[in-house]
């Protein structure tokens, strides 16, 4: 059942120390910056963050890292022109990193949401990222066995929700949101607006409300995505 929260603080309440937090977004597109800011205020520590990147500039995920709340990052591409916060923590040995190929990251999240115990994936075979992993040749092709990534909490940004939690996204800001929403025990979504049930055509719902626990409206601010 979906709760429409009054504030981002209410939306992220209860995140426990040591949680695994899935954070949507690809660069800034779809990044739930306001929810991350609320997590910084909320205070949970010792977090594992699963996200495509490891923070940009000094805001959002980078600010969470700078606040010393993150023990470990699972991502495909930590290194960016403006990832100095992560870079500094990593080089000084204050943060752990697991690098996962981007499509394998998405598929491992999907597997968690879909009840798949593990899957044989052709990506990364013969590369350093497959070292130590079980491999198998199936029908003449080599695969690596990959396991689900399950979150305690997912933080997602969508375009519009209805009151029962159905979501639609906007353009390439959709990216990891729909799979992360399925992969966490508690999914928290910041949206630009909340509509009434029926306002979103049932044919165009991308994330059905069953995957959405909490919704909070955060109007898109000018410059919020810059």
């Amino acid at each position: 059942m979906t709760t429409v929260c009054e504030s981002t603080d209410e939306a992220v309440a209860g995140i426990e120390d040591g949680s695994t937090v899935l954070i949507g977004g690809f660069g800034m597109a779809g990044m739930p910056v306001d929810l991350i800011d609320a997590v910084i205020r909320q205070g949970a520590e010792d977090l594992t963050i699963v996200s495509n990147n490891a923070g940009n500039g000094d805001t959002g995920l980078a600010a969470l890292l700078a606040a010393g709340r993150v023990r470990r990052v699972v991502c495909s591409f930590p290194r960016q022109s403006d990832s100095w916060v992560f870079d500094g923590l990593y080089r000084s040995g204050r943060i752990e990193l697991e690098v996962v190929p981007q499509g394998t990251l998405a598929e491992r999240l999907r597997a968690a949401g879909a009840g798949i115990g593990a899957f044989f994936c052709p990506t990364g075979v013969g590369t350093p990222l497959a070292e130590g992993k079980e491999t198998r040749v199936i029908d003449g092709r080599a695969y690596v066995l990959e396991y689900p990534i399950k979150g305690d909490v997912a933080l997602v940004k969508a375009h519009v929700a209805d009151r029962v939690g159905n979501l639609v996204y906007r353009k390439t800001a959709r990216n990891f949101g729909p799979v992360m929403a399925t992969a966490a025990t508690t999914t928290v979504v910041q949206v630009g607006a909340v509509a009434e049930p029926g306002d979103i055509d049932p044919e165009v719902v991308v994330t059905p409300g069953i995957f959405v626990d909490r919704v909070v409206v955060v109007p898109d601010r000018a410059g919020a995505t810059s």
Binding site: M1, G115, V164, T182, P202, P208, G209, I210, F211
Partner: protein, 221 residues
């Protein structure tokens, strides 16, 4: 969740509709629920709009409404039993892989199924009688059995020939292992699990009579 046993001996066994109503009472508001083909669909009649329950049909929909009648009938909108149904505001459609990912991933709160046999530790047999000439057909039964957070079974406690359908070990081919959490029958409601069968409530029969008629160790709630 286990309260002291309630013995309703001043009345007869529950009818189908009363079993359905009894199940509906145990489904919390806000639940996402899948009702299996056949008798379990009766449960929907006891989940009014006020129950805040969202129905899932595994052929690709959340927010399923009542059966369609008259002009509402649309061959593109059916439930898993291929019966024309309606959509409620807030519904969503999705494809089969997404629908069963939702189920297998444990996102549904409750699933209500019929059964040929259920074992005291929650094994389910509801897809095949084991008859050698039967054409096997499983549909979504195995997916439903392992998919929901709680699997409720709705059935008569005894077959027409008097054989108990709550058993120590299923003799019919299994649908799922240790998957049924509650069993709702005309004569009693049971909680099932690793510890065996616990009787929660009886109808038209006392706990002692019930225990005498079943070849299954029972405990009173």
């Amino acid at each position: 969740m286990t309260a002291p046993i309630r013995e309703h001996t001043g009345r007869g066994p529950l009818g189908k509709d009363e079993i359905a109503a009894r199940i509906a009472r145990d489904i919390p508001a806000g639940s996402y629920v899948n009702l299996g083909i056949g008798q379990p669909t009766l449960v929907a009649d006891h989940l009014g709009p006020g129950a805040g329950v969202v129905l899932h049909t595994e052929n690709g929909m959340l927010g399923m409404g009542p059966a369609a009648t008259g002009d509402e009938i649309d061959p593109d909108l059916t439930n898993a039993g291929k019966v024309p149904v309606t959509e409620l505001p807030g519904a969503a459609y999705f494809h089969h892989a997404d629908s069963f990912a939702m189920m297998r991933g444990g996102h549904l709160d409750v699933c209500v199924l019929g059964a040929f046999q259920v074992s005291a530790h929650g094994d389910l047999a509801n897809w095949h009688t084991g008859a050698p000439d039967a054409i096997p057909a499983v549909g979504g039964a195995m997916d439903l059995a392992i998919g929901a957070k709680q699997v409720f079974v709705m059935m008569t406690l005894f077959a027409k020939d008097g054989t108990a359908k709550l058993v120590r070990e299923c003799t019919y081919p299994l649908t799922g292992l240790r998957c049924v959490s509650r069993l709702y029958t005309d004569l009693a409601v049971f909680e099932l699990g690793a510890e065996g069968a616990v009787v929660v409530e009886t109808f038209g029969i006392s706990y002692d009579e019930l225990a005498a008629r079943l070849d299954v160790p029972l405990r009173a709630a």
